[in-house]
């Protein structure tokens, strides 16, 4: 065992990268669920974002356009879900699952000519002096811009939900859509916008994997992160900061366990491999022992005539 082989600074820096796609997708889904909609299509929207972002970044050689395309791609796919559940009043669970299957298939089709291509690199943040600081520099000031977007988005979502009128409406729609409707709020419009936001976030998270974290296009490359994001929202009791904590715990322990394995720590590998899931769930379950609960109208279909 040689723990000195692990460089804590590099470890923290890479756990932040590992957590970001999960954080982005989970924050998007949190807003969707706060509006009372359960969209199980996160995985599908992520993989569509991954290929849309990758394709546009390669074609235009501009990674930022790629990220915008990824958000658009995820949002367009989520629009399909919005149509099915908000207009056609289809079952949300079934529609969400269908969205994932559809997204996986469609992305494989779209990505056929992009296998084995290298995307344009995204510049990392480089602030003179700050980035060169020891320890703090690589951890706080040496990342790609999307990572900071993820953090800013978490803060913005929290503030918006807690302090703004818009957040109040969104929560009202999610808690009791009949009451919100009676008060004159547009339930369906609010939900469609929330779904679009969720799609854009998931798409961005997917593109983060294909453009920054891996970076390449491979079929099925999100490999279940969308599902973990879904679980994370529930275990985080629909609270943005807990989602952030959960994402960093999960990403962090995943990176840590790989590092511990490489360093030859004498903990059986099986325990290390399951630790990210176990510890993240444990911590969040303990934290959610307070009275937090799911939005009351979560997953229920709304029609103004009812």
């Amino acid at each position: 065992m040689d723990l000195s082989a692990i460089n804590p600074v590099l470890l923290i820096a890479s756990l932040m990268v590992a957590a970001t796609p999960l954080l982005l997708a989970a924050i998007g889904e949190l807003v969707v669920e706060k509006a009372g909609v359960l969209n199980l299509g996160v995985e599908g929207m992520m993989i569509i974002g991954a290929i849309c972002g990758f394709a546009i970044a390669v074609e235009t050689t501009n990674p930022y356009l790629g990220l915008l395309a990824a958000m658009a791609g995820g949002a367009v796919l989520s629009l399909l879900f919005a149509f099915l559940t908000q207009v056609a009043l289809a079952n949300q669970v079934a529609s969400g699952l269908a969205l994932t299957l559809f997204g996986l298939g469609l992305s494989a089709l779209m990505g056929q000519s992009y296998v084995g291509i290298k995307p344009p690199a995204m510049a990392k943040l480089d602030i003179p002096f700050l980035t060169d600081l020891p320890i703090i520099g690589p951890i706080l000031f040496g990342h790609d811009p999307v990572l900071y977007v993820g953090l800013a988005l978490t803060a913005a979502t929290w503030a918006l939900l807690k302090y703004s009128r818009l957040g109040l409406i969104l929560r009202a729609v999610g808690e009791n859509h009949e009451a919100a409707h009676a008060l004159g709020y547009h339930v369906v419009r609010t939900r469609v916008l929330a779904i679009l936001f969720g799609g854009a976030c998931a798409g961005l998270g997917g593109a983060y994997i294909s453009l920054i974290r891996v970076p390449q296009w491979t079929e099925g490359m999100t490999a279940g992160i969308g599902w973990i994001a879904l679980a994370l929202v529930v275990f985080a009791s629909w609270k943005p900061w807990r989602v952030l904590l959960g994402a960093y715990l999960f990403g962090g322990i995943n990176v840590l366990q790989l590092n511990l394995q490489a360093a030859g720590v004498a903990i059986p590998v099986e325990y290390l491999a399951m630790s990210p899931y176990l510890i993240t769930i444990l911590v969040l379950v303990i934290m959610s022992a307070d009275k937090s609960r799911a939005p009351a109208s979560l997953g229920r279909i709304f029609h103004a005539s009812q």
Binding site: I117, V214, Q216, T218, G220, M221, A223, N259, Q261, A263
Partner: protein, 356 residues
């Protein structure tokens, strides 16, 4: 009268249709990953395409991708058998028990299970001696590493993977006594993000050669980003990362085997077999060794490929000890296939335990 006529002609048409169908041999493939993974599943699908190219209209192939190694695999195989498949290739180790179970229910359907060891009257197993390729990789890795740390991304602790680690280690150690292996078990065959993280963790801990036994090209991309790290293509050539970081590769070539077995089913000569071919038979290919490998190392590696192919040299030749220091192979003795097929121990010098 009219009705009977109608029924009779319907029956006739149906009969004709069945005969027309029966002339076609239907071959099913169960894949563990997507056909576009650029690695393991990609090569199996190349084999499937070769079968189509060889037999044309006489054969019909079906495949299902991303089939999890569990009960779902049994459902997929059953579905294929019910749809009239004559021959089904199940292409991952984790389908072993499922293949045997489904084969019991469909005695007339032939099954071929890759990398497993359980056979039955209608179940054959086939695998390639990838460890021969690992020996070549180990040699190149041992010669090229400057930090003397070689990172190994392993998938699941099954004999197939353990053989690869041992073979690579033995040959790296032979040319570089100071070499050290850092092994990460990813517990997945295919998860690009996790594979990339594993590669980054190994690189951060000083590895300058990465060997992978997972299926995606993500570790190659991570090595490329890091700059001075050597990799090898796994299952497929991964030549898009040549000449550097990918300096060589192990290529699985299933096409000749798939064609031969399909032909056997067509001719009615199929029988249970246990095929384990290596470089010599062409099932394991060594991808072009790039110019970034020093010329003398390349020549040695090529010579090793030659001797492995001809059978003059066995990748597990004594003297070798097990990790616990007990004797395994005496001087000049070579490992028997039984031990290799069930290998569950590291050889002497590797640090860490094999997970259960």
């Amino acid at each position: 009268m009219k009705l009977t006529k109608l029924l009779a002609s319907a029956a006739l048409v149906a009969g004709l249709a069945t005969t027309a169908m029966a002339e076609k041999t239907k071959v099913g493939f169960v894949y563990v990953g997507p056909v576009g993974d650029g690695g393991w599943t990609y090569e199996h699908d190349q084999g499937r395409k070769a079968v189509v190219a060889e037999f044309g209209d006489d054969v019909e192939t079906v495949y299902v991708e991303n089939v999890p190694e569990g009960p779902d695999a049994e459902r997929v195989m059953t579905q294929m058998a019910l749809e009239g498949a004559d021959l089904i290739f199940t292409t991952s180790f984790g389908y072993m028990d499922q293949t045997i179970n489904v084969a019991k229910k469909f005695p007339k359907v032939k099954f071929e299970h890759a990398t497993g060891y359980k056979t039955a009257d209608n179940v054959s197993v086939y695998s390639a001696r990838f460890y021969e390729g690992r020996a070549v990789q180990g040699h190149i890795a041992g010669k090229m590493t400057e930090s003397n740390i070689i990172g190994y991304i392993a998938s699941f602790p099954i004999p197939e993977v353990i053989r690869g680690i041992n073979s690579a280690y033995i040959h790296a150690k032979k040319v570089n006594p100071d070499v050290e292996f850092k092994i990460i078990w990813a517990y997945t065959w295919f998860d690009p993000a996790k594979e990339a993280d594993a590669a980054k963790a190994l690189i951060e801990q000083g590895a300058d050669v990465i060997l992978q036994h997972t299926d995606s090209t993500a570790p190659q991309a991570a090595a490329q980003a890091a700059g001075n790290v050597v990799t090898f293509g796994q299952a497929s050539d991964m030549s898009e990362y040549a000449p550097f970081p990918r300096v060589s590769s192990i290529i699985d070539d299933w096409a000749p085997y798939y064609i031969a077995r399909t032909k056997a089913v067509m001719d009615g000569t199929w029988s249970t077999a246990n095929t384990w071919d290596g470089i010599g038979a062409g099932m394991v290919g060594i991808g072009e060794i790039s110019d970034r490998v020093p010329a003398d190392v390349k020549a040695e590696a090529m010579a090793m490929v030659e001797s492995l192919a001809s059978g003059d040299y066995h990748a597990f030749t004594g003297p070798l000890k097990k990790q616990d220091g007990s004797d395994w192979l005496a001087e000049g003795e070579t490992a028997d296939d039984g031990t290799l097929a069930g290998m569950n121990f590291y050889v002497e010098g590797i640090v860490g335990d094999v997970p259960n």
